[in-house]
């Protein structure tokens, strides 16, 4: 029951995208987000989509994986689209009872849906091709300048890494507790949907408690290996920036700039 929920999890591989420096991928996603929010032109979005298509091809991922990452947001996309179609004022196309569909509404719906899909697509590509540890290493290095103003960047990155690492564990744990409770007469299957959701509540307390227990064990294990925080720590894995990264980032930059340019000339 919990298996399908591990979305956007790292898919090991050696493709071009996998081998890019995590910083490149984080910056690229950041640039694309700016481009998607800063421009509202269909052609601009098309440009971004083209780039994503190509990257997906380069990443050599099973399409099913990507689809699984995108599927959960489809409902969100649909709802946003519908609200926009029916509520925006403007040039009326058709009337359906009390509802009107306007040209502006349809355009907005398409734009917003596309934006959402492209956003999630880009981030899913990143998380699928970057190991969680790499991702946090990348973030830590990118935000290292904040250490000067005493922001605990290393600790925050570590927190993120641990959180990511324990997501699958959490699902396994939920599965275990559910099996144990079902074996002793707890009922997760019958009743109406609200009833079944309510039956999940007794699952949460043990899940919480067991997470704290795990945290304690992990802290003990880290202290046993003399972990004392970020200061003075050296790295085993070093990030390496290569020409490949410079070129890739330049390309993304170009696409972003292209999107803005297209908007400026009114496409």
């Amino acid at each position: 029951m919990w298996q399908g929920l591990t979305l956007g999890q790292y898919w090991p591989g050696h493709s071009f995208l996998h081998r890019l420096d995590p910083r490149t991928k984080i910056l690229a996603v950041g640039l694309l987000i700016v481009a998607l929010f800063g421009t509202r032109s269909l052609t601009g979005y098309g440009l971004v989509a083209l780039l994503l298509f190509w990257s997906t091809f380069l990443a050599r991922l099973p399409i099913a994986k990507l689809w699984r990452g995108l599927r959960p947001i489809l409902i969100l996309v649909l709802v946003t689209a519908l609200i926009n179609i029916f509520t925006l004022p403007g040039e009326v196309w058709t009337r359906m009872g009390p509802l009107t569909i306007t040209r502006e509404g349809v355009e907005m719906a398409i734009l917003l849906s596309l934006r959402l899909v492209l956003l999630v697509w880009a981030t899913t590509l990143m998380t699928l091709t970057t190991a969680p540890l790499q991702l946090t290493d990348g973030l830590e290095t990118l935000f290292a300048f904040l250490k000067k103003v005493r922001v605990p960047v290393h600790e925050m990155a570590l927190m993120m890494a641990i959180a990511l690492r324990f997501i699958p564990t959490l699902f396994e744990e939920a599965d275990r507790i559910q099996k144990a409770q079902m074996s002793r007469g707890a009922d997760f299957e019958s009743g109406s949907l609200p009833q079944r959701v309510k039956a999940l509540l007794p699952l949460l307390v043990p899940l919480f408690v067991s997470s704290f227990r795990r945290a304690e064990e992990l802290a003990l294990a880290m202290e046993a290996r003399a972990y004392t925080g970020g200061k003075g720590r050296t790295r085993y894995r070093r990030l390496r920036w290569t020409v490949r990264d410079t070129l890739s980032l330049a390309l993304v930059l170009l696409v972003g700039a292209g999107a803005f340019a297209l908007k400026a000339v009114g496409f």
Binding site: I177, K179, A180, S183, R184, G185, D187, S190, S210
Partner: protein, 293 residues
């Protein structure tokens, strides 16, 4: 209640090898069944079918002749039957830490009875009764089950299932991690439970054949997801080569087999040490060749 498996197939991965491959097994009401098999032979997987935690992918499970997963039933009806099944088949998990989840020992043992909708006083009585039966001190009631020793955890896990007073008690290697005394006590407890409730069923998984000899009326050996032998334990131990399935006959059986190759044949029905000793003594009195040695 009686349980029956009909040609059950199961695997964990879609294209993977079958973990259960055509298991057919009848477990009449009131019987004591032992299940043995090497590591990874599919015992735990089989047990999870018996209380509906896993569904057969081919074949079916019959509970008193009815299939709780029958696709012709409505969803609600199926859910009701499965709930009924889980409340009457009590499964003690192989690893107690997988079974325990509440904050305190008391709450954990009370979880099952609570789901049965029993009154508070009855729940309390059952908690204390099953703790006492397993030799758990009441001081432990307020402790977290995860702050217990492995053996204590095991006892709490068994107590939690016993408190439901299941009609079928299923135990997955319940003596693993217990000291010899604890092992003896648990086996005695099961024997007493069985004697007090002759119509209830025990299904017992273990690697230790001496426990099987003591407890099981019938022993089923599974190997790579198939049943390869079944019958009364004493007969299997003396007639089959258990080693090829990764099992070892109990010392008493090995002794009898050894004596037999030297020409001393002792007749026994049960393989507990006392009875075997008597049988050997009887055989020697008849003037067997062993006496000359």
């Amino acid at each position: 209640m009686s349980l029956q498996l009909e040609e059950v197939f199961f695997r964990y991965e879609d294209q993977g090898p079958w973990v259960l491959e055509g298991i057919s097994l009848e477990i009449p009401r009131g019987s004591t069944l032992g299940i043995a098999g090497g590591t990874g032979s599919g015992k735990t997987t089989l047990l999870m079918h018996l209380n509906g935690l896993l569904l057969p992918q081919k074949g079916r499970l019959l509970v008193d002749g009815e299939d709780p997963h029958d696709p012709h039933l409505s969803r609600q009806k199926r859910a009701a039957r499965r709930r009924w099944l889980r409340r009457h088949v009590g499964l003690v998990f192989q690893y107690p830490e997988n079974q325990l989840f509440e904050e305190t020992v008391e709450k954990d043992i009370a979880f099952g009875p609570k789901n049965l909708g029993l009154p508070e006083a009855e729940i309390q009585a059952r908690v204390e009764r099953s703790m006492a039966a397993l030799g758990l001190s009441f001081d432990l009631k307020g402790r977290s089950p995860f702050q217990l020793s492995g053996g204590q955890m095991r006892r709490v896990a068994v107590a939690g299932v016993l408190a439901m007073e299941p009609e079928v008690l299923v135990l997955d290697e319940p003596t693993a991690g217990l000291d010899p005394l604890g092992r003896q006590e648990l086996l005695q407890l099961l024997l007493t439970w069985k004697k007090d409730h002759p119509l209830r069923t025990i299904i017992y998984v273990s690697h230790r054949m001496d426990e099987m000899a003591l407890l099981a009326e019938r022993l089923v050996v599974i190997h790579r997801g198939k049943i390869v032998a079944q019958g009364p334990p004493a007969r299997l131990f003396l007639q089959e080569d258990l080693f090829r399935w990764g099992l070892e006959p109990p010392p008493t059986a090995q002794l009898l087999l050894g004596l037999k190759t030297r020409g001393l044949e002792a007749q026994v029905d049960r393989l507990d040490p006392r009875e075997v000793a008597l049988a050997i003594a009887r055989a020697r009195q008849k003037g067997a060749p062993c006496g000359k040695a």
